[in-house]
Symmetry: C2
């Protein structure tokens, strides 16, 4: 049995993801499709519009065979860390191929860039120089790579893709990376709808626009009610305003930023306003979003230090093919495979804490159900 890996947040699952899965099946028709999926909080510091069990159901419905959770300490961090966790899981699961979507679409370019990052001394120097000039990290990375290789890489998706490829090379994972070009060519004749990005769908939802043309029916079904990070602002504000300690104790909150947050929190009336008030040239919107998510979920620098390594593979759902794959590879997989929370450990505690935070905005019935699902729910079966 062979397996192909994909890494997704599905925020939300849309026609582009359907196309991506179709492509994966086309390229690897006999492979088991393994999805590493972010849970309830995401890489840009967002809350997942759809809760993770429902995202799992959708993924299984569209052909994924095995859904494993990218733990919170990886899912909500910078591209490097996100890649470390997701490639680590795929490597442990013995996939031989990774297929990811990218704007660039040329895997050779990714490999060149990854090697530059890993082995060209000029790269680190240049990044440091740009950072010292007050530029943010993605811009510094992009400029340094362009100077050295002449290749432009600047979209969040491509930077994430580059992190995957670099992580594969660096950890000597036996995984072949393949990228599928994300363009308007995406319009497959198999699809009745059209394709647009997840962020444009999120924007449309914010404006209460009709998104039916861009997502499958399952997404619409599970989007009620939908979570956005904005809904959590009263809780974040309460937490920041009543926090006695320095906010810099929370993961990813750089020195001095905590004081800035405390300074602007009273006057900022929305999550978005708070980020806009704090933002500087050095800190991107997304980086600040991540900081706020770490504060909201009570994820400290100490926690992050303790949770630097993958401790388990948590299965959220599988098809019979996925289950067969797990059974076949069980003995070769170095990490323990877990389904429910029989024994707690700090990584699972963090996951539970994130889900408790995620559930805070729900009414009491739904809150209890979602929190209990975190430790009781068995993998979703298709």
């Amino acid at each position: 049995m062979k397996a192909v890996g994909i890494i997704c947040e599905y925020n939300p699952f849309h026609n582009g993801h359907v196309y991506h899965l179709e492509k994966v099946k086309e390229l690897c028709p006999d492979h088991t499709i393994i999805l590493v999926m972010s849970g309830n909080f995401l890489q840009r510091g967002e809350a997942s519009l759809i809760q993770k069990w429902d995202k799992t159901k959708i993924a299984l419905a569209y052909g994924v065979d095995l859904v494993v959770e990218l733990p919170f300490p990886f899912a909500t961090q910078s591209a490097d860390y996100f890649a470390k966790g997701s490639i680590g899981l795929l490597k442990a699961l013995h996939v031989d191929t990774l297929i990811f979507g990218s704007e660039c679409g040329d895997i050779e370019k990714f490999i060149t860039l990854a090697n530059t990052q890993l082995y060209d001394e000029k790269y680190d120097e240049q990044v440091k120089n740009y950072l010292d000039q007050g530029l943010n990290y993605p811009t510094s990375l992009s400029k340094a790579l362009f100077n050295i290789t002449g290749i432009t890489i600047d979209t969040p998706n491509d930077i994430l893709g580059l992190s995957y490829v670099r992580e594969i090379i660096e950890t000597k994972a036996n995984i072949q990376p393949i990228c599928i070009k994300r363009t308007n060519d995406y319009h497959s004749k198999k699809l009745t709808g059209t394709i647009t990005s997840a962020s444009s769908i999120r924007e449309a939802l914010k404006k209460k626009q009709d998104i039916r043309a861009y997502v499958p029916k399952e997404t619409l079904q599970y989007l009620k009610p939908y979570h956005t990070i904005e809904n959590y602002y009263p809780f974040l504000k309460y937490k920041i305003l009543t926090e006695m300690k320095d906010l810099d104790m929370y993961q990813s909150v750089d020195e001095g930023l905590g004081a800035r947050m405390k300074k602007f929190i009273v006057m900022s009336k929305t999550y978005d306003e708070l980020i806009e008030n704090i933002k500087t040239k050095r800190y991107t919107y997304q980086k600040i979003g991540r900081m706020l998510t770490h504060i909201l979920c009570n994820f400290s620098k100490d926690d992050a230090d303790d949770l630097r390594k993958l401790k388990y593979i948590r299965v959220l759902g599988f098809s019979s093919k996925g289950q067969q794959y797990l059974n076949a590879y069980k003995k070769k997989i170095d990490l323990p495979i877990i389904t429910t929370f029989k024994k707690m450990n700090p990584m699972l505690e963090m996951e539970l804490r994130a889900t408790c935070t995620y559930a805070s905005i729900l009414d009491e019935e739904d809150k209890q159900a979602l929190i209990e699902a975190e430790y009781k729910q068995k993998p979703i079966m298709k």
Copy 2:
């Protein structure tokens, strides 16, 4: 100039309080009336139905000359501590009389009981025995006092009154305590309405019953919107569920109770349900209410240790008579008198934190206004 002190929570201000103030004016017609008032969180672990600036306006409208705030670390604690703070403030302000309402109505009885508590060795022994049998503190106190003196004291108001009298005796304060009997005789012909207790008014509000007969018009005016501790449950639940540390670190949370709270928090759908689930013979509803308020406001045992002593007299409002009194006594008053937060200190930080918590349930406009009032609002003048 002479001054008489009263101690109130005004939760909410009702016809009985109007009567109390009438009585004070009758008994001390030339005195300046000084009110020590709890702020936004109260002794039973409740949120104040009406925010403190509005309570101040009402108090001034009904004849109080000077309103000073009982700081949070005293206002939300057991009767002993509550009395320590409030008598301490009145003593510092050189009042010569304290007038409080009580069910018992006989000041000699209070004096006998206070002396028993202070000087009769049997008292402490007996209280300890009852506590060891698993009884709660108010019951143990009441039983021990009855055994020794034959006097029954068991209502929360009388236990509070006893604490005042004991604190006066113990600190050798030059204050004469007077109690006014709280009975149906309260019905003064001067009042158009009728008198009922604050708790029955709170109950009526909960049931959306008409309370117009029991409160003056100002109370009705400021009761929109009104705060109850139940409104804060989503925040408390979020805090408890995401707290990494032991809840026993919070003030008044006895050993083991924190674990009980964590055990019952997911299944408890209301504040009330949580308390009922945690409650045992040893812990009264109110005592648990106080614990939860301390958790909600992030008030730790360390904070409480640091804030055992009065640090200032904070003026929330005054009439011209009150202002004259302050000017006349300024030099004799040992504590600094403060109005706005020019210099922060840990006691004021705690007060601000409590107000930030209190404001959490409001919409963003009102939240900002209430929080800013905490450090910008000058004393209300009548």
